[in-house]
């Protein structure tokens, strides 16, 4: 307890569970490892937190997460929702050395997803269907992290802004419902779901947006978040 700078320290990393919606499917971005350990296996994108020397203490934890997010996706900072999941720090989770990872989940709006450099590139990054993927195929303890992320997203879907971060600026009720359905993994009644959304309009959370969404049949109205608070009461 005397000289705290003398004790051995763990490396600290940030790992990201980056979700998006594509083809009415919940997907996440994975990276193929090109070196041992777990060479050839898929992992969550991530990296080490930059820690300075002496006076400079380095970057904030959240800045590290945002930096990795920008590096891995190529998307501008602030354009993607980012929230901390928690710290994962079992001994031995990285066989090389002691690493404590702070995990985050990110939500990429579907219209941005095509700009993410993933796919045929040499980047080694690709989108995977969350439903089809076996978490245990991931390297390190990333299965545990992924499961926690899915549980968290499902749990907060009803209360928080999660669904709205996975839908375009202006969205139809059916599009929002599709996000709910694919995350929860169950069909929702269109009529009942519509009522829930309409109630948010009464509450001043949403408003009608200009334009309509062309579908296979009758076009649907589109909605968006209200920008300025309605200044009620």
């Amino acid at each position: 307890m005397t000289d705290i700078s003398r004790y051995p320290r763990p490396a600290v990393a940030v790992d990201l569970v980056i979700f998006t919606i594509q083809d009415a499917d919940l997907r996440l971005l994975l990276i193929e490892r090109d070196r041992p350990p777990f060479k050839g296996r898929w992992t969550l994108p991530g990296g080490f937190v930059r820690v300075g020397q002496g006076e400079d203490q380095g970057e904030d934890l959240e800045v590290a997460a945002a930096r990795e997010l920008a590096e891995e996706t190529g998307l501008p900072r602030g354009s993607v929702y980012l929230e901390q999941l928690g710290a994962f720090g079992k001994a031995g989770r990285d066989p090389r050395l002691r690493v404590i990872s702070v995990a985050w989940f990110a939500l990429v709006k579907p219209e941005l997803a095509p700009f993410v450099r993933a796919g045929g590139d040499a980047s080694g990054a690709a989108w995977f269907s969350a439903a089809a993927l076996d978490p245990d195929a991931l390297a390190f303890d990333h299965a545990e992290i992924l499961r926690a992320a899915l549980a968290r997203v499902r749990r907060e879907l009803h209360r928080g802004p999660i669904a709205f971060e996975l839908v375009p600026e202006a969205f139809s009720i059916a599009e929002l419902r599709a996000v709910f359905e694919v995350i929860l993994g169950e069909r929702l009644d269109p009529g009942n779901f519509r009522r829930r959304v309409l109630r948010m309009i009464d509450d001043g959370v949403l408003e009608q947006a200009p334009g309509k969404r062309i579908t296979a049949s009758k076009p649907a109205r589109v909605y968006r978040f209200v920008r300025e608070p309605a200044g009620g009461a």
Copy 2:
């Protein structure tokens, strides 16, 4: 990206927000710092994660939290509820060196609280009323951690096991209601609250316990969690 063991690393600590209920009041355990920085100020109990050398990677993150909890309270492991809050890692949060802290909250059952070595001891530990305490009086960024802990406990009070961890094994409905009231900071209707609890009996979550709770007037029935699942359906 080549030799990951070469980069500077942060120190990693665990900090604890240890709650209990005493005198119908939500309290938390604080420690008075006996050295700079922040000498004489109060802080959340905590300590550094033990990281080994070479083969030995040291203790799990959760083990570190449980160890600190046992050390600071003197209570046996496993007797106190412990849950992770998240990682706090702003640069400069500890002026001495870069420290990333993983915060946890703990819930001490009221009948155990008297055994915690706090009070007149030389330990420098004491219980503080959560309502009366000004979080900004705490050292480091512990105000932020405390606020997050309070928000989390309030948010999960309705859904999770939190309230039941702050009440004796066998508890009256009024005692459980008092926990809700002191955490939420508002009065709850006794009749309506009772119905909520009774519904949990229908659901097989609670059952009547032997004995009664003596009050200033009419004694109250006491309840407890069911041990064996009711094996229904």
